[in-house]
């Protein structure tokens, strides 16, 4: 066994420990808290979760499929702009958009106030207005932020199909809508299912919106069980149920991707738009894109900017800098460590000769699909065990470790690495596969050993991939909320927990600069994705 193999396997095992502990713990005998929940509210939580996922999926389809079709096939005023702009909502944290719309649409908000003065209504009894802080409201908020996944994947899938297929179907008498349903959509089915699986995983992981709207789902149940009852076992069991959901989503995603590769990808790139929209249709297309963009991004950001200007003195506070620095510190730690680990694992994949060389990477990446709350519980399980052992160990000495691991920022950093390792791995791996294996052979035949090959050939060529990986992990760390809420040491705040605190207290205005900062940071990966897609095309 080579030392590279030992390193890679240790990383794989270490990063998959939390999931292993979680599965083990959730299969343990009944806990009192869990059976109580099971008998009372758990089924409501499960049905809420299912309804939430189905709702978000349906609404995402309604929003994103037409957008993807327009962007991939049509020419209309503003098409180039909307093509990338429609991704922007991905940068919005759901709880910020949820807060802003609540503020806008609830009883005291400007919309209802305006309606009342307009029609002369005096009290809530005089008229009906929908309540946004409900399950349907949460569905709308989450779908507004997550639809870009489907949009992006669907658009790309359509682009990769040859326009000739659609043209052929039209020569055979189908109108554009028919050929969409009979040719384009079936061909892109794999991509759509994969995107929806992704969306359902993200929906399940969402904690802040449902918590803010007081809609009880499995995610909030995990949170409440741990912080309310301090029962790790019960929290682990609820997490186990979520794992089942996740497993189904992952299977769907894998399966559809496998199916997708059967279709032959076209090599040449479609040069011109398939449909040139004119007149009323063109403006309708533009209006549709503009409306979605307005609701999902422009309006919330504008309002946030308004808050920031109005409350600048309070929001530009010492707190902002302290929490930004704390977030930054953790994010830098995590991105450096995650990239280093992924480099070691991917390098082993590169040089390993046995069939199991990809296994450590798979193991290490298992944390990615875990929702933040579930991940937090999963990380706490082994860490509290270790802390107990440490305390026993030092029982006869003066040293008292206390919650050395589970109660410090170590727990946060470890959890983030477990969750975001997969991102680093993916970015490093994808730039690794672009390095021709014959370069390794050439380097070796010219007398260089593995370490020299790594430093003289691979690292210079991987520089961009490494930077991208570090940046993506960094950004995810800055945004991560639920795991931070559960794992942060007492009185320790990150930017995200700070903003969420103010959201919960109905005072986002006071944290508006922090919120804007999070949105801005979230825009960076979109820029990277967009640039790599442009490069891909040219």
């Amino acid at each position: 066994m080579s030392r590279w193999q030992v390193i890679a396997w240790s990383i794989g095992v270490c990063l998959s420990t939390p999931l292993a502990f979680l599965i083990f713990e959730s299969l343990q005998g009944d806990s009192e808290v869990f059976s109580h929940l099971w008998d009372t509210v758990l089924w409501d939580y499960i049905s809420n979760t299912v309804l939430l996922i189905l709702g978000v999926i349906a609404l995402s389809c309604i929003i994103a499929l037409p957008l993807g079709w327009l962007a991939a096939y049509c020419q209309f005023p503003g098409q180039r702009f909307f093509e990338w702009a429609m991704m922007l909502p991905l940068a919005m944290p759901t709880y910020i958009i949820a807060y802003i719309y609540t503020d806008l649409l609830d009883y005291a908000g400007p919309v209802q106030v305006a309606l009342r003065s307009w029609f002369g209504w005096q009290s809530p009894a005089d008229y009906w207005f929908f309540d946004i802080r409900t399950l349907p409201g949460a569905i709308v908020m989450i779908a507004l932020v997550l639809y870009p996944y489907l949009y992006l994947i669907f658009k790309t899938a359509l682009r990769e199909q040859s326009f000739k297929l659609v043209q052929a179907s039209q020569l055979m008498g189908l109108n554009p809508i028919q050929s969409f349903f009979k040719v384009s959509l079936p061909l892109a089915r794999g991509a759509v299912v994969a995107a929806l699986a992704l969306i359902s995983m993200e929906t399940m992981a969402d904690f802040a919106t449902v918590h803010y709207f007081a809609v009880s789902t499995l995610t909030t149940a995990v949170y409440d069980t741990w912080l309310g009852y301090y029962s790790l076992t019960a929290a682990a069991k609820i997490s186990g149920i979520m794992l089942l959901f996740l497993f189904v989503s992952l299977l769907l995603e894998r399966f559809s991707r496998k199916n997708n590769t059967i279709h032959e990808r076209q090599v040449s790139i479609n040069e011109e738009a398939l449909y040139c929209l004119t007149g009323k249709r063109a403006w309708l297309a533009t209006a549709y894109c503009a409306l979605i963009l307005l609701i999902a991004f422009v309006l919330p950001v504008t309002i946030l900017l308004g808050y920031a200007i109005d409350y600048f003195d309070q929001a530009w506070s010492n707190e902002f800098f302290v929490y930004a620095w704390q977030s930054l510190k953790i994010a830098i730690w995590v991105s450096v460590v995650a990239v280093l680990l992924s480099l070691l694992v991917v390098f082993y994949q590169r040089i390993g000769a046995n069939a199991s060389k990809n296994v450590p990477g798979r193991f290490a990446s298992t944390g990615y699909a875990l929702p933040g709350t579930v991940l937090a519980i999963a990380v706490l399980l082994p860490l509290t065990l270790l802390d107990n052992k440490l305390n026993q160990w030092f029982a006869n000495t003066n040293f008292e470790p206390g919650l050395l691991l589970s109660g410090s920022i170590f727990a946060m950093i470890f959890a983030y690495i477990v969750r975001f390792y997969a991102i680093a791995h993916g970015a490093v791996e994808s730039s690794y596969v672009r390095i021709s294996p014959s370069l390794d052979m050439a380097s070796q035949s010219m007398g260089k050993n593995l370490l020299q090959t790594l430093s003289l050939v691979h690292l210079p060529l991987l520089r961009r991939g490494i930077l991208t990986a570090a940046l993506l992990v960094f950004i995810e760390c800055m945004k991560e909320l639920p795991a931070a809420l559960l794992l942060r040491p007492f009185n320790y705040e990150t930017l995200a927990t700070h903003v969420f605190q103010y959201v919960s207290d109905e005072q986002l205005e006071l944290a508006s600069i922090s919120a804007l900062f999070i949105v801005l940071v979230g825009l960076i990966p979109l820029y990277i994705v967009n640039r790599s897609m442009e490069q891909h095309r040219s």
Binding site: S438, S445, M446, G447, K448, P460
Partner: protein, 343 residues
């Protein structure tokens, strides 16, 4: 002393034998081509020689020094082998001079610069030292690759399908160039290809590979005249088998008459088959002939007839003046040639 000797080398991948009991030896300053269809194990053989894979059995020695045998395995960086890859494998982050100098870290700076300059001159790329690989044409990249592989004076040069990415118009010019560079540097080389034409133009000897073994190692002429197995004869070009009886040392009889051979035939067996290629066949009008014409095609200077004889099919050229009727059976006349006789 031989530059390279492989003795009974076997390599299995996932329980599948890729090369089995392979023997090969390459003499000093000789270019040998491993020629064979895809999947015959030729690239695997090359990788085993380079040390990029470890054969399970057999011995490999380079310049008399054992590189791979039982527990002994010299890793690729200690074999001093030059290798030229199908995609050239030039390092994209290094310029031409840096690429060539990559294997020269043992030399001091001035020696290294001198060697790089020498190699640039050898491959006639003076002035392009600072260019990056993507700024070069395919042929220039190839010359950088050969310069890089030869710069550190390897004991042996390996070339993995180096000409497959080159346009056919310039391919043979490049083959000549590279061949003379290699000959100039007095290094033994092994070259992998699936193209007979490249092999004939580039190599001194050809090793025909078939199912993980060397079926025959010989000069092109000898391979054509004295193929050891039917597989070798068939690989070098299509033909048909005809039952034959040895008449004397210089001729055989077939159902199409006597065929005289320009080389003497083996004495051991009386009955067997001869393998006849189109260029040795003449089609003749014969109403009672046993050859059926399936198709006829005019290709400018001559006709090509698709014929069926003894349940085998073959395309045979015939002069444009000699027009044969596709509905009429014809007969064959086999010209005198170096007869391939298999018992």
């Amino acid at each position: 002393m031989s530059s390279l000797v492989l003795e009974k080398v076997s390599y299995q991948y996932q329980q599948q034998a890729v090369i089995s009991q392979l023997d090969l030896s390459v003499e000093h300053n000789e270019i040998v081509c491993l020629l064979g269809a895809s999947g015959c194990g030729k690239t695997t053989t090359l990788k085993a020689i380079a040390g990029l894979i470890k054969p399970q059995q057999g011995r490999i020695s380079i310049h008399g020094q054992c590189m791979s045998h039982k527990q002994l395995f010299v890793s690729p960086q200690h074999r001093n082998i030059g290798m030229m890859f199908q995609d050239y494998a030039l390092f994209p982050h290094l310029n031409v001079a840096q690429n060539i100098a990559f294997g020269l870290s043992k030399l001091n700076k001035s020696e290294r610069n001198r060697r790089v300059a020498q190699m640039m001159e050898l491959v006639r790329l003076e002035g392009l030292e600072k260019r990056y690989p993507h700024e070069l044409s395919g042929g220039q990249q190839q010359r950088v690759a050969i310069a890089r592989a030869l710069a550190y004076r390897p004991n042996l040069l390996l070339l993995d399908e180096p000409f497959s990415n080159i346009d056919t118009q310039v391919r043979f010019q490049l083959i000549n160039d590279i061949r003379s560079i290699i000959k100039d540097q007095k290094v033994s080389a092994i070259f992998v290809s699936h193209s007979k034409d490249e092999a004939f133009a580039f190599a001194d000897k050809l090793a025909i590979m078939h199912e993980g073994r060397i079926a025959q190692l010989d000069s092109a002429k000898n391979l054509f005249q004295k193929p050891k197995t039917k597989a070798v004869a068939e690989f070098l070009g299509r033909g048909i088998y005809l039952d034959a009886t040895r008449y004397n040392g210089q001729s055989v009889t077939t159902k199409f008459g006597e065929v005289s051979s320009s080389i003497s035939l083996p004495e051991s067996e009386q009955h067997g088959q001869i393998y006849v290629r189109p260029q040795h066949i003449e089609l003749v009008n014969a109403p009672q002939g046993q050859v059926e014409i399936l198709q006829q095609r005019f290709i400018g200077t001559e006709y090509v007839y698709h014929i069926k004889v003894a349940d085998q099919q073959l395309e045979v050229p015939a002069p444009a003046e000699q027009l044969l009727d596709t509905n009429q059976p014809v007969s064959l006349k086999i010209k005198a040639h170096a007869v391939n006789f298999f018992s």
